[in-house]
């Protein structure tokens, strides 16, 4: 293989073959998993593979198409990516907006554009454009990422598509855009922001989940504990005491007054409902009238929740029943029996768990970890900021996808519709990750160039 490419040094020069191999291996594992989920012993193998009827044969064709695209990307000039970054971002945003007009509804979300041979999800593709645009902005010489203004602009670039995605009801895809924080962090985003943001998120979720009075008691206990244990330092510096008390006052105020105020007066009823429904609760701040109106809604919601519970339960059964060694390829009774819904897309990991057991899942996890660490290594050897930011963006996106998807299947996270990179069935997803990775490989091949 290698020899063949070396005949044409213009393409193969500087390419990180480890990345290419990792890519190919993961896609192949994915096709095998889809095959193991869908193949029945009564099927005619050649017919179904050539027939473009079954999902595994479709995925094979997607892979072939993506390979061609990958070669095209490797043939382009790296400068093109910097040049196109802002433009593509604009096109991406426009495409997302276009879905509101010409969008096709698939599985309850109107975020798809039908192309005839496949359905395209712009939010999915927009990850690439956002990564490029963010890299472009951060690599500009006039950008000083220490200044809040730059930080705000960067955040705006990263989160605009997420906002649209939220409006379309694709919470999972919107959350992916938070993964750009990893790249921003690497570029100097003060960790205080992340910590504060994370704390605020925890506080918010806790407010939604627990009763305010319990939280107040908890905060008081924590504050009391801090004062008690650092009494000596406080005696030396009373400002510390003031700081702790201010923190306590803020938390209590947030829980007791700010949140109810926001839910009652700032947000509209349905918005509040939607937020609460995300954590699986009904809105306690709703008016009597709306409660009655929502009762029908409530039933439908409950049904949906039960369905999600069922998904996770079945997924856990399938993975858990694999044991250490697994049941063997094509011998999984759960995946073959169609027990896990969406098992060829979002829950593809279950087939690995059932057929190949713990050693199979751990090897797959190590492959993904190796891929991520490899990307970090590639990122750090870039001379240009553009390439580095882009590499970290890719690492962040893949990390978010892999960890959230697998956490969902093993019951560590609530059900969020998000694919397993390179393995889940679906042309849109495979295309996105192929482009993401091969742009990175191309940039890395040209790492001697300084791109702006």
């Amino acid at each position: 293989m290698r020899y063949m490419y070396q005949k044409n040094p213009a393409i193969s020069k500087g390419i990180d073959w480890v990345m290419v191999w990792l890519y190919a291996i993961l896609v192949c594992i994915g096709i095998l998993c889809i095959f193991s989920v869908e193949f029945r012993s009564s099927d005619n193998l050649t017919q179904t593979f050539l027939g473009f009827k079954k999902n595994y044969s479709k995925q094979l064709y997607f892979f072939a198409a993506c390979s061609v695209l990958a070669i095209f990307i490797l043939l382009t000039d790296s400068k093109l990516f910097t040049a196109m970054a802002n433009l593509s971002y604009l096109v991406g945003i426009l495409l997302i907006i276009a879905t509101f007009v010409v969008g096709k509804e698939i599985k309850g979300s109107r975020s798809w554009i039908p192309l005839g041979f496949m359905n395209l999800q712009p939010v999915e593709l927009c990850k690439i454009f956002t990564a490029l645009a963010l890299s472009k902005y951060l690599s500009q010489q006039e950008t000083d990422f220490r200044r809040p203004k730059s930080q705000l602009i960067a955040a705006a670039i990263a989160f605009t598509p997420a906002m649209f995605s939220l409006l379309q009801g694709e919470t999972g895809l919107a959350l992916v855009y938070f993964s750009f924080l990893i790249a921003m962090y690497r570029e100097g985003l003060p960790p205080g922001y992340l910590i504060a943001g994370a704390s605020l998120a925890v506080l918010l979720v806790a407010t939604l989940l627990l009763k305010p009075i319990h939280l107040v008691i908890a905060f008081s206990a924590i504050a009391g504990g801090i004062i008690f244990f650092s009494w000596r330092r406080i005696r030396r510096n009373y400002a510390l005491l003031v700081f702790v008390l201010l923190g306590w006052a803020f938390c209590v105020g947030f829980v007791q007054f700010a949140v109810p105020f926001i839910f009652k007066h700032v947000l509209k009823g349905y918005q509040a409902d939607r937020i609460f429904s995300m954590v699986g609760k009904s809105n306690p701040y709703a008016d009597e009238k709306t409660v009655q109106l929502n009762q029908v809604d409530e039933k439908a919601k409950k049904k949906k929740e039960e369905a999600q519970d069922y998904n996770v339960k079945q997924s856990k059964i399938a993975i858990g029943s694999g044991g250490f060694a697994g049941k063997g390829f094509l011998k999984g009774t759960q995946t073959q029996g169609d027990f896990v819904p969406e098992q060829h897309t979002d829950f593809i990991f279950t087939s690995v768990g059932e057929n190949f057991g713990f050693w199979g899942t751990s090897i797959l996890m190590l492959l993904y970890l190796f891929l991520l660490l490899r990307i970090v290594r590639i990122a750090e050897r870039q001379r240009s900021t553009f390439s580095r930011v882009y590499a970290y963006s890719v690492a962040g996106i893949i990390f978010f996808h892999v960890s959230v998807n697998i956490c969902v299947t093993i019951g560590l996270a609530p059900v969020i519709g998000i694919t397993l990179p390179l393995m889940s069935y679906g042309g849109s997803s495979l295309l996105t990750f192929t482009i993401l990775l091969f742009i990175l490989i191309k940039l890395d091949a040209d790492r001697q160039m300084v791109l702006r």
């Binding site: 990422f145 073959q336 169609d338 750090e380 956490c407 019951g411």
Partner: protein, 711 residues
């Protein structure tokens, strides 16, 4: 500037690694330390399909299959796939209208969902099967035919012998002997099917299947690696002569009673008729439960195997045994004579035991004329024999003789529900009258087979085999051999000869003389068959039902031919009135003729018809039937009474049944449907339909016959 943040690379890498460690820990927890998931997966993802082997076939003594398996087809439907099929033709073949069609489809969908198969029409008749087969290609894939194995009775006789199959009930499931049976399995519930369940049922096979979330079986698990094949049940060869059995059932039609015939040499049972009986085909197929309840509720008790479960006073048939005891004890000789002046006066006062023929008898003639006084005297001599110090010991000695003759205890025959009968012991009389407050005269009627003595028909037949063999018998049994060997050792006990007391042949010769005289020119002349030397003994048994005297039971027992006995037989006709010689003897004669000559002479066919058409069922049975019928028609309280009645029957009859109450409900619903003029669901002419005549004819018929008999 960003170069200064290079150390943040490590933080990011740590976050990555940390997340993956968390995931790996959870995977470890799920896959290595949670065996529960594996069990749950097996529960929902695999299916153990039990493959039922064919039950063993039963042959008669000539090698004819008398109990076998047959395949009947059910028409199955998958409601989700019937769009566009020719419903009209199907309806016309099955004889249903569109409304009924829709009802059945909806029921199927409710029961089994639209993507799973349900039974549309069970147990198709051959005719419908043929018609359906022609258009089956048009009905596919929404409909298909599914075969089902059911028990088949080529001669449709011997219901009481074979027994029937029924679903296992909770009692069976609790019994460790029947380990491996699950709810819904069929098991032999009576007769041979029950006794030889282990032999007949074979070994079940198991197939492991994968199934999907709709509970559909998709594929064999690992290509059948874990499957075990089913082994068919063993075939059994019996001593039954099915033609003799059929003749016996015919002769006993419309009578209560029993005929049992035994091959004295082997102990093999040639026929075992219990009347009224039922056509065994009634208890297979779709309407099994309904028929079962009807049979169970019938006051004539057709499910009750009288041959082994009914006990009667033996009456005069008991006298031959007294002769044996007397001769062997030496209290009489063959020349011993007793004269009867009208009654037995050996006890002085009290109610006299009358004899029918006045005169002086020796042993031979006493047997011939069934002289009461003679045998009362013989037994008196046995009991009052000075060799024995007390009444207790002499009665115990007498008991030993009776036990040796096969009375007073269960013989160990291979159909269930055998009763031990009753032979009076000193302990019994102590209990009845007080210790020392009884003597021979207290129970003198025992000597002529009345009073505290009960026997079952099978015991009497066995007693005849004992006399025919001159002193031994083998336990009567139905099954001679089992194909492939008697794995469970169930036939061992039938090989042993039983001869507890040693009585010389000469003694038997005298008794045989007397018994031959009975047929040649005594009370049992009705049994005579030209060309065959038959030995026999009549019996006429007084009996009471709830304290009210009923017409006598007619008894006849015997064996033939005298020189080389091939058949020992007994017949009892309950409440026939008159004497044993009137009804029972001719029936026995016909049976012997059929068995020994293989056919019944042309000039005697009319006798067969005459007896077959005779109705001797006592009127109280008809009264009870009426009561029961009105009970079923009446309101709920009476209906509940009927339910209690079923439990009562179950207890008294030792019938092992579980689902008849449900069937009773069905009967009630059907009957109410008729009463209120509701359209009764006509499901076409099912393969098995029951008519009242299957059990009992109308009473009208009976009176007519009685008249003709009197003429």
């Amino acid at each position: 500037m960003p170069v200064f943040n290079q150390s943040r690379k490590n933080v990011i890498m740590l976050v990555f690694i940390g997340m993956f460690v968390v995931i790996l820990l959870q995977l470890m927890n799920l896959q290595l330390f949670s065996p529960n998931y594996r069990i749950q997966a097996e529960d929902q993802g695999t299916f153990r399909k039990v493959i039922y082997p064919d039950r063993g076939i039963v042959f008669d003594r000539t090698g004819k299959a008398i109990l076998q398996n047959t395949v009947i087809y059910d028409l199955m439907v998958i409601p989700g796939k019937i769009k566009g099929t020719d419903t009209a033709t199907l309806c016309s073949i099955l004889g249903i209208d569109t409304a009924e069609f829709h009802k059945r489809i909806i029921t199927a969908i409710i029961k089994n969902k639209s993507y799973r198969a349900s039974i549309f029409e069970p147990l198709l008749t051959n005719e419908r099967m043929a018609k359906l087969n022609e258009i089956m290609y048009k009905l596919a894939p929404g409909y298909y035919l599914q075969e089902r194995s059911v028990r088949d009775y080529p001669f449709d006789a011997g219901g009481n012998i074979f027994g029937y199959l029924g679903e296992v009930d909770s009692n069976v499931l609790k019994n460790p002997q029947y380990q491996g049976y699950v709810m819904g399995d069929y098991i032999g519930k009576a007769g041979l099917e029950r006794t030889y369940e282990k032999v007949l049922m074979g070994q079940r096979g198991i197939e492991f299947w994968k199934r999907d979330k709709f509970n559909r079986l998709t594929d064999r698990l690992e290509n059948g690696k874990f499957d075990t094949a089913a082994v068919a049940g063993q075939n059994m060869y019996t001593s039954i002569d099915i033609e003799l059995q059929a003749l016996g059932e015919k002769l006993m039609e419309n009578k209560l009673g029993s005929i049992v015939a035994v091959d004295p040499k082997t102990g093999g049972i040639l026929c075992m008729v219990s009347s009224p009986t039922y056509k065994p085909k009634l208890l297979t197929g779709a309407e099994r439960k309904k028929h079962f309840a009807e049979l169970l509720l019938s006051p004539a008790r057709p499910l009750f195997n009288r041959s082994v479960s009914a006990t009667y006073s033996p009456g005069s048939t008991f006298k031959t045994l007294q002769a044996l005891v007397g001769l062997h004890e030496g209290v009489i000789t063959t020349d011993f004579r007793v004269s009867c002046g009208g009654a037995f006066y050996g006890c002085g006062g009290g109610k006299p035991m009358r004899c029918l023929d006045v005169g002086t008898f020796d042993l031979r003639n006493a047997i011939r004329m069934s002289d009461n006084t003679y045998f009362a005297t013989v037994m008196q001599r046995v009991i009052n024999n000075p060799v024995y110090p007390s009444q207790d010991s002499s009665l115990s000695k007498w008991d030993q003789y009776m036990y040796a003759f096969g009375l007073g205890h269960k013989l160990g025959i291979d159909v269930p529900s055998e009763k031990p009968g009753l032979i009076p012991t000193p302990a019994l009389y102590d209990k009845m009258h007080g210790k020392g407050r009884w003597n021979y005269c207290t129970y003198r009627s025992v000597s002529i087979g009345q009073g505290e003595v009960d026997v079952t028909p099978i015991q009497v037949a066995n007693e005849m085999a004992y006399i025919a063999n001159k002193g031994w018998y083998r336990i009567p049994h139905l099954v001679d051999s089992i194909e492939g060997g008697d794995t469970f050792g169930m036939l061992e006990k039938f090989k042993e000869k039983h001869s507890a007391v040693d009585i010389p042949d000469s003694v038997f010769e005298v008794v045989h003389d007397g018994m031959q005289a009975v047929v040649d020119g005594g009370t049992g002349a009705g049994a005579r068959v030209s060309g065959i030397r038959i030995c026999g003994k009549t019996g006429t048994v007084e009996n009471y039902f709830r304290g009210v005297k009923q017409p006598n039971h007619a008894f006849f027992c015997g064996f033939a031919p005298r020189d080389n006995p091939k058949i020992a037989i007994m017949c009892v006709v309950e409440n026939s009135g008159r004497f044993g010689g009137t009804y029972a003897a001719p029936i026995v004669g016909l049976m012997i003729e059929k068995y020994l000559n293989d056919t019944i002479a042309a000039n005697r066919q009319a006798v067969v018809e005459k007896f077959a058409n005779m109705n001797l069922i006592p009127s109280r049975i008809y009264t009870e039937m009426k009561t029961l019928d009105s009970m079923l028609h009446a309101k709920d309280s009476a209906y509940l009474l009927a339910k209690g009645y079923i439990r009562l029957i179950k207890d008294t009859m030792d019938v092992d049944a579980s689902d008849e109450e449900e069937a009773l409900d069905q009967i009630k619903i059907d009957k109410e449907g008729i009463k209120k003029g509701k359209p009764v669901k006509d499901s076409g002419d099912r393969k098995f339909t029951i008519k009242t005549e299957a059990i009992l004819p109308d009473q009208k018929k009976k009176t007519e016959l009685k008249d003709s008999l009197n003429n």
